[in-house]
Symmetry: C2
DNA sequence: CTTGAAAATAGGAATAATTCCTATTTTCGG
DNA sequence: CCGAAAATAGGAATTATTCCTATTTTCAAG
C-alpha cells in the first residue's frame, strides 16, 4: 500500500460500488472488463491489503468463497449458514460491557463490526 | 443419520473429548489411530451431518481450515482474524430484542450460539 | 529529467481443503 | 433371513486461494 497503482484503485472502486458482497472472483471479472490484463493474484493480494488496512471487510462463510464488503456506516451482517447468503441490518449495541468481558476472558479486542450473526434464512427453512 | 455406524460414533466421541476446536484433518487422524480403515470422506460427511443436527458447531475462519466444537453449555467463540485462534468465553446476553430485530430486517433466525466475535488477539498485536 | 531501489504486477503453477464419484459393505425393519 | 436404504472406503476432481518468478511501474533523491 505504498505506491499508487490503477489496478488497486479500480479494485477499491468496484468493491465500493457493489452492494451485494461480491466474491474475489466476481470482483476480478468486473475489474477485468475494464482492464483485461489484470490478474487474479493482483485482486487477491489487494483485497488482502485492503482488509488489513480496514478499508473493506472480509466475510468468511460455511459455504462458498469469501465475500467482501466496503466499510460504510454502521451496519452488521447476518449470514445464512445454509445457503451462505449475507443480509445487512442495522442495530446499535451496548458493546462496552461485552467488549470488556471478552477482552478479559480471551484477550481479544473486538470492534463494532467484529460480530457476525449466523442463522437460517427464510427460504432455507424449507 | 438413520443407521448406526461405529465410525460415526467414534467421530462424535473424538469431537466431544476435544477441547481445542479440532480441524477435520485432526479429527480424521485421531479416529484413524483407532480405526485405520476410516476414510476422510466419512469424517467430512459425518461432521456435516452432525453440524446439521446441531450436535456440533462448525467454525469458519479467515485463516486455515474449518474447526469443530462439541455443543456444551452456553459458551461463545471469539476468533482472532489474524492467527485464527479460537477462544471460548462465557457471557449471557439479552438476545430477545436483538433477535427480533434481525428477524424482522433479514428474515434470519439466529440462535444463542449463532454469534461469532472477531478481533485481534494479544499475541497478534505485535 | 534520469536513475535505482522498492513496490506492484501478470501469468500460471502449486497447494490446501473439501466435495464428489463409484463400487462395496453394513444396518435394520418386516 | 432378505432387501432396500444407508453408510462406507478410496481416490479423483474441484474450488478457492496462495505462491513463485520474471517483468514493469512508481516515486523520491540527485
Amino acid at each position: 500500500m505504498k505506491n499508487y497503482s490503477r489496478q488497486r484503485e479500480e479494485i477499491i472502486k468496484v468493491v465500493k460500488d457493489s452492494y451485494n458482497h461480491p466474491t474475489a472472483e466476481e470482483i476480478y471479472m468486473i475489474v477485468k472488463a475494464k482492464d483485461p490484463a489484470v490478474s487474479r493474484s493482483t485482486v487477491y493480494r489487494n483485497l488482502g491489503l485492503l482488509v488489513e488496512s480496514n478499508l473493506i471487510k472480509q466475510i468468511s462463510m460455511k459455504v462458498g468463497p469469501d465475500r467482501y464488503d466496503y466499510m460504510r456506516k454502521n451496519h452488521n451482517h447476518a449470514v445464512c449458514t445454509k445457503c451462505g447468503k449475507i443480509f445487512d441490518f442495522e442495530y446499535s449495541f451496548e458493546y462496552d460491557e461485552l467488549q470488556k468481558s471478552i477482552k478479559e476472558q480471551t484477550g481479544i479486542e473486538i470492534s463494532n463490526d467484529g460480530i457476525v450473526f449466523e442463522g437460517i434464512c427464510d427460504s432455507c427453512k424449507n
